[in-house]
Amino acid sequence: MSVLTPPRSAPTRQAARTPSAGENFSGWANRHRKWLFAAPAMIFVGVLIVFPLAWTLYLSLTDSQGSVRAASEFVGLQNYLTVLSDVERFWPAVGRTLSFTGVALICEVVLGMCIALLLWRPFRGEKWVRVAILLPLVATPVAVGMMWRLIFDPNIGFVNQLLGMVGIPAQPWLSGQDTALGTTIFMDVWQWTPMVVLILLAGLTSLSEEPDEAARMDGANAFQRFFFITLPLMMPTVIVAILLRGIDALKTFDILYATKGKGGGSFHEVETLNVYAYGLSFDYNQYGLSSAVLILFFMIIIGSMWLLTMRKKAVSK
C-alpha cells in the first residue's frame, strides 16, 4: 500500500494513475473504497436473503409439498385463499402471535421502566444488580425453556410448591390449555425485560438534568416530574426499545418449541405464526402453504415496524 499517495482531491486522481502496477491498484482501491468495503457484506446478505425470499414468494404460488424436489404446479393465489380462510390454525396463530407480542411488550416496557428508574441514581451494590440483570439476557433460550419446564411442572415444580405453602391449589401452567400461552409470556418477560432495562437506562443517563431540576424547583412531585418531564423526553428511546424487542418477540420460536414441542402443544396452545410456519415446512412438508403463511407473517412484521417508525418520527419532532 503506497504511503505516498496524497489524499483524494482533483489533481490526485491524475497522480494516482502512475505506471507501476502496485500504485495503480492502491489508487484504484482508495478511490473505490466505499464500495470495496461495503460490497462483500452486502453481496453476502443479499445472496442469502434476496434469493430465498424470491423463492419463498414463488413457492407460495405453487402446490409444492412432500419434497421441494417433487414436481409442483402453479396454483396462483390458491394458497393465500386457503390460509386466509383457515379459522382453525392460521387465524388463531395470528391472534396468539399478536397477543404474545402485545402482552409481553407491555409487561417488559412497564417493568423495564420501573427497574430502570430504580437503578437510575447510583447506589452501593449496584454492581451486583447489574450482574443479575445481565444473566437472563445471555442465557440460552432453549436451556431457559427447559429450566422453566421443571419450575412450572404441575407435580414437582417449585411454583406449585410455593403456591401450596400459601394455600393456593396447584395450577397446570404449561400443560394447561388456557394457561400455557400466559406461562410462555412470563418466560419471555423474565428473559427480555433486562434488555429493555438496559436500553431505557442508557436513555435515562443521557437525559439532561435541567428540566427535571426546574420542575423540582417549581414544586412538582416525583410522579408529576416522571409523567410530564421524564416520560415525554424518553419517548423516542421507549419506541426504540419497543421496536427492537417487538421484532424479536414476533419471531419468538426457541422457548415455544422447547417447552411445547411440535405444533405448539397438542391443542396448539402456543402455536404462533413462526411455530406454525416452521411446523408446516419441516414437520409436515407443506412448502406451498407454509410459504404463503411466511409471506403474510413478513407483511405483519414490516407493517408493525413501519407504524412504529412513523410514531417515532412524530414523537421526535
Binding site: V45, L135, I151, P194
Partner: protein, 297 residues
C-alpha cells in the same frame, strides 16, 4: 450478597433539605422511598436469579431427590448428572461444535462487517445499511426452506460450512449495526489529519481508525458469539449428527419417553455457564452493544 444502601444520599440529602426548608413530611418521604427502593431491588434480583439458582440446584440432585418436595433446598449434592451428560451423551463434542461454529462465524462476520460498517457510516449509505439490517427482521423460517433445498443438493447439510454460513447471517447484521453506531461516534478529524500527514484513506482506516475501534469490535464480537452460541432454529434444521450444537442437543434430550430432569438440568447448566462467565467478564461491552444506537434521536 446485596447490601443495597444509598451511596450518594448522605451528600445530596442535606443540600436538598436546606433547599426545601425544614419540612419533615418530605424527609419522611425520602426515607420511605429508600426502604422501598432497597426492597424493590432485592425483589428484582431474586426474580432474575432464583430460577437460574433452581436449575443449578436440580442439576446437583438425583432424580429421586428432584421428585421429593421435602428436599427442595437440603439434599446431598451429586455430580453424577454432569458425569452422565459429559461422558455418555457426547456433550464434549457438542460443546466443541458450538464453540467452533460461534467462533468462526463471528470472526468471518467481523472481517466482512467492520469495513462495511465503516463505509456505511462514513459515506452515510443509509439505503445499503437498510439492506443488511433487513436480515434482522426477516423470519428465519422463510430462509430455511430455500437454504435447506440448495445446501442439501450441494451435499452440505450436516457440515460445519452451512452452519457457519447461517450463523453469519445472524452475526453480520448485528456487527454492522453496532459498528455503524461506533464509527458514527468516532471523530473524523483523526483520519483527516492522518491523511494530511500522507496516509492513503485506506491506510488511515487501517492504522488509525481500526486500532481506535478495538472496543467496538470487542462489543460486536462478544454479542455475535453469544447469539451464535444460543442459536437454535438454524442448527435444528441444518446440523447433522456430527455438527450438532448444544441447544439442539438439549432439545433432543426431552424426546426420550420420560424426562431425566437431573440430566436435563445438568445439560442446561453446561450450555449456560460458559456464556454467563463470558458475560461476567465482558459486562461493559455487552451493555454497550445491547444499547447501541438506542439513544440517538
Amino acid at each position: 450478597m446485596t447490601v443495597l444502601t444509598e451511596d450518594t444520599e448522605p451528600q445530596t440529602a442535606p443540600a436538598e433539605a436546606a433547599k426545601t426548608a425544614p419540612r419533615p413530611r418530605k424527609r419522611l418521604g425520602t426515607r420511605a422511598y429508600k426502604v422501598f427502593r432497597v426492597a424493590a431491588l432485592v425483589a428484582v434480583v431474586l426474580f432474575l436469579i432464583a430460577p437460574l439458582f433452581w436449575m443449578l440446584l436440580a442439576s446437583l440432585k438425583t432424580n429421586v431427590d428432584i421428585y421429593d418436595t421435602g428436599k427442595s433446598f437440603f439434599f446431598t449434592p451429586t455430580f453424577e448428572n454432569y458425569a452422565n451428560v459429559l461422558q455418555r451423551n457426547n456433550y464434549l463434542v457438542f460443546i466443541f461444535n458450538s464453540f467452533w461454529v460461534a467462533f468462526v462465524s463471528t470472526a468471518l462476520s467481523l472481517v466482512l462487517g467492520v469495513p462495511a460498517a465503516y463505509a456505511m457510516s462514513r459515506f452515510t449509505m443509509h439505503r445499503s445499511a437498510l439492506v443488511v439490517l433487513m436480515a434482522r427482521v426477516i423470519p428465519g423460517v422463510s430462509l430455511l426452506v430455500p437454504w435447506y433445498y440448495v445446501f442439501s443438493n450441494l451435499k452440505m447439510v450436516g457440515g460445519f460450512e452451512v452452519l457457519i454460513l447461517s450463523h453469519m447471517f445472524v452475526a453480520l447484521p448485528l456487527i454492522v449495526y453496532i459498528m455503524m453506531s461506533y464509527f458514527d461516534s468516532l471523530p473524523l478529524e483523526l483520519e483527516e489529519s492522518a491523511q494530511v500527514d500522507g496516509l492513503t484513506p485506506i491506510g488511515a482506516f487501517r492504522r488509525i481508525t481500526l486500532p481506535l475501534s478495538v472496543a467496538g469490535m470487542a462489543t460486536a464480537g462478544i454479542l455475535s458469539f453469544i447469539f451464535s452460541w444460543n442459536n437454535f432454529m438454524f442448527a435444528l434444521v441444518l446440523s447433522g449428527s456430527k455438527t450438532k450444537t448444544l441447544p439442539v442437543a438439549i432439545f433432543d434430550f426431552v424426546s426420550y419417553a420420560s424426562i431425566d430432569w437431573g440430566g436435563l438440568m445438568a445439560a442446561a447448566t453446561v450450555v449456560t455457564i460458559p456464556i454467563m462467565i463470558i458475560a461476567l467478564f465482558t459486562q461493559k461491552y455487552i451493555v454497550s452493544g445491547m444499547t447501541a444506537g438506542a439513544t440517538k434521536g
